[in-house]
Amino acid sequence: VAGLVLVFRRVPVVQTIGITFVAIVLEALPFMLLGATVGGVIEVWVSREKIASWLPARGGRSVFYAAALGMFFPVCECAIVPVIRRLLQKGVPLSAAIAFLLAGPIVNPVVIGSTAVAYLFDVSVVLQRTLCGYAIAVTVGSLMGRLFGQQRLPPLEGRPARGQSVDAGPPASSLAGKFGRTFAHAAEDFFDIGRYLIVGAFLAAAIQALLPRSVFTNILGNPPLSILAMMLLAMALNLCSEADAFVAASFRFTPVPLSAQLAFMVLGPMLDIKLLLMYVKLFRGRMILALSAMTFGGVFFAMLVMEWFGV
C-alpha cells in the first residue's frame, strides 16, 4: 500500500485519501489510548465481585442503567471497545455491555453539547438524538442478551497460561506492580485492537474520498431512501461522535429530511466500518452479524416511525 501511495501521491484523490486517513487515525488514537487504559484499570483494580455488586440484582434492569452510563463516563466509540472487552471478561452481562457499547457514544454530555451547538441549540433535535440512541441501545442490548447471553466470547489473545506469571517486574501485589500490570494490559489491548481501527480508518478515508456527498443529497423527496442513504453515509464516513452533528447539520437546509439527519447521527456512533472491524475482538461472527442487523434495522425503523408521525 505504501509503495502504491508513494507512486501516486500527487494524484488529488490519493492526497485526499492520505490526509483523511492520517487525520482519522491521529484523532482516534488518543481516545483509544484512554479507553485501553480504563480497560487496564478495570482488569487490575476492579474485581468481578465488585462489578457484580454494582449491577442491579435483577439482571433485566442493568441494561437500562448501562445505556445511561455514558452520562457519567463520557466515551467515544473508539475508546469504548477496549473498555467493553474488559467489562465482558469481568462478567458484566452481555445485554448491559451492548447497551453501553451502543449508547455510550451518544448518550453523553460531550455529544449532547456538540449536537446542540451544531443545530443552534434546537432542543428537539438534541432530545430526539439522545432518546433514540438510548431506546435503540436498550432494545438491541436486551435482544442480544436473550439471543446470545449464554454464548462464550472470544478469549483475549496473548494472555499467559493459568499459573504462569504475568509480570517480569515488581511483585503483582505491590503498588508499582499493579500500575505496571494496568499499563501492560492496556498496552496489550491497544496493540491488539488498534490495527482494526487503522484498517477501518483507511477504508473510511477511501470511501470518503471516492464517494461524493452530493450523491446522497440527490436522493430527494423519498424519506425512506434518504434515511437509508444517510445511514450508509454514516457507516462509510466513520466520523467521531463528537463531530458528526456538524456534518449532519450541513444537510439541514438541503432536501434531506431531519429523520435522515438523525439516522446519520444515531447510527454512526453505533455502527461503522472501523467499529465493525473492532467488534471482531469483542464478539463472534454470528453475534456481530446479529448486532449489526438489529442496530441497522432498529435505527431505520425508528426513523421511519418518526418520519411518518412527523416528529
Binding site: A2, E27, P30, P212, N238, A249
Partner: protein, 252 residues
C-alpha cells in the same frame, strides 16, 4: 542444515517480536511529540485538541515502559508473525504522515465533501452564526466575518483569500472561493464557499490560492441572506505552505 537455519531464523524473529509493541509505542510517542512541536498537528486536527495529544504522549510513555518491563504477551503468542504483521499495520499511518505532511485538502476534496455545490455559502451552512473565533486579522478573519454576518458587508468593499473552484459548466468570470472548516479533524472538514462574479481575466484555475478584492452583494437563497462578491481584482498567490493556514477552525 536448512531446517536448522529456518528454525533458528524463526526463533530470532519470535524473540525480536517480543519487543515490537514497545517499538510501535515509541514510534507513535515520537509522532505525537513531533506533531505537538510547533503546532504541526493543526494540519490534521483542531487546535483545541492539544490536551488530547499531551494525554496521548503520557499514556504512550507509560505503554513503552510497561512493554519493556512487563513485556507484551501478544507478540510471543503466535511465534511473532502476527506481531510483525500488526506492526506493519501500525506503522502504515506513520508512512502516510511522512508522505502527505505539508499537503492540504484541495478542489478534489471540495467537490466530494460539498453536499450541494450550487449552494455553498448560506443555507447549506446553518452553523455559520457560530463560526470560529478569529484570533488573527487579515483575509482569513474577513472570510469568516463575511459568512457570520453577511448583512454587515452589504455593498462594502473587502479583501479575502481562499482556494478556487470553477464549475466546468459555470458562466465566464464566475468561481467559488472556498476554505475548509475543521470541526475536529481534517476528515470532518466542511467546505464553505463564497461565489465570486465578474472576475477579470486571466481567470484562476482550480486549486489556485487567490486574494479577491471586490464589493459584496447579498442574494437571498432559500430565504437566507447569502453573500456574493463582485470582483474588482483577483491576485493569484502562492498557497500558504502549512496547510493549517489554509483551513479555518471551528471555535470551541
Amino acid at each position: 542444515m536448512v531446517r536448522r537455519l529456518k528454525q533458528r531464523w524463526q526463533r530470532r524473529l519470535a524473540s525480536a517480536a517480543m519487543w515490537l509493541p514497545a517499538v510501535v509505542f515509541a514510534v507513535w510517542f515520537n509522532v505525537y511529540y513531533w506533531l505537538l512541536e510547533g503546532g504541526r498537528y493543526r494540519a490534521y486536527l483542531q487546535p483545541g485538541l492539544w490536551p488530547l495529544l499531551v494525554l496521548a504522549l503520557g499514556i504512550l510513555a507509560a505503554f513503552v515502559a510497561a512493554s519493556l518491563f512487563w513485556q507484551a504477551h501478544t507478540a510471543t503468542k503466535t511465534g511473532g508473525i502476527d506481531a510483525w504483521l500488526n506492526t506493519g499495520v501500525w506503522l502504515l499511518p506513520v508512512v502516510f504522515l511522512w508522505l502527505f505532511f505539508g499537503q492540504g485538502l484541495g478542489t478534489d476534496a471540495f467537490t466530494r465533501k460539498a453536499p450541494d455545490l450550487q449552494n455553498m455559502a448560506g443555507p447549506a451552512f446553518p452553523t455559520a452564526e457560530r463560526l470560529p473565533r478569529i484570533d488573527t486579522g487579515g483575509p482569513s478573519a474577513e472570510f469568516m466575518r463575511l459568512l457570520k454576518n453577511p448583512a454587515h458587508f452589504d455593498h462594502r468593499r473587502l479583501t479575502i483569500e481562499g482556494s478556487v473552484y470553477r464549475d466546468p459548466e459555470g458562466a465566464a468570470g464566475r468561481f467559488l472561493l472556498f476554505r475548509f472548516l475543521v470541526v475536529c479533524c481534517a476528515a470532518d472538514a466542511m467546505p464553505i464557499g463564497i461565489p465570486v462574479f465578474e472576475a477579470p481575466l486571466p481567470m484562476p484555475a482550480n486549486d489556485d490560492w487567490v486574494r479577491v478584492t471586490g464589493r459584496v452583494r447579498i442574494a437571498a437563497v432559500k430565504q437566507r441572506p447569502t453573500p456574493e462578491i463582485i470582483a474588482e481584482r483577483v491576485e493569484i498567490l502562492p498557497a500558504p505552505p502549512p496547510p493549517q493556514e489554509r483551513y479555518l477552525y471551528y471555535g470551541w
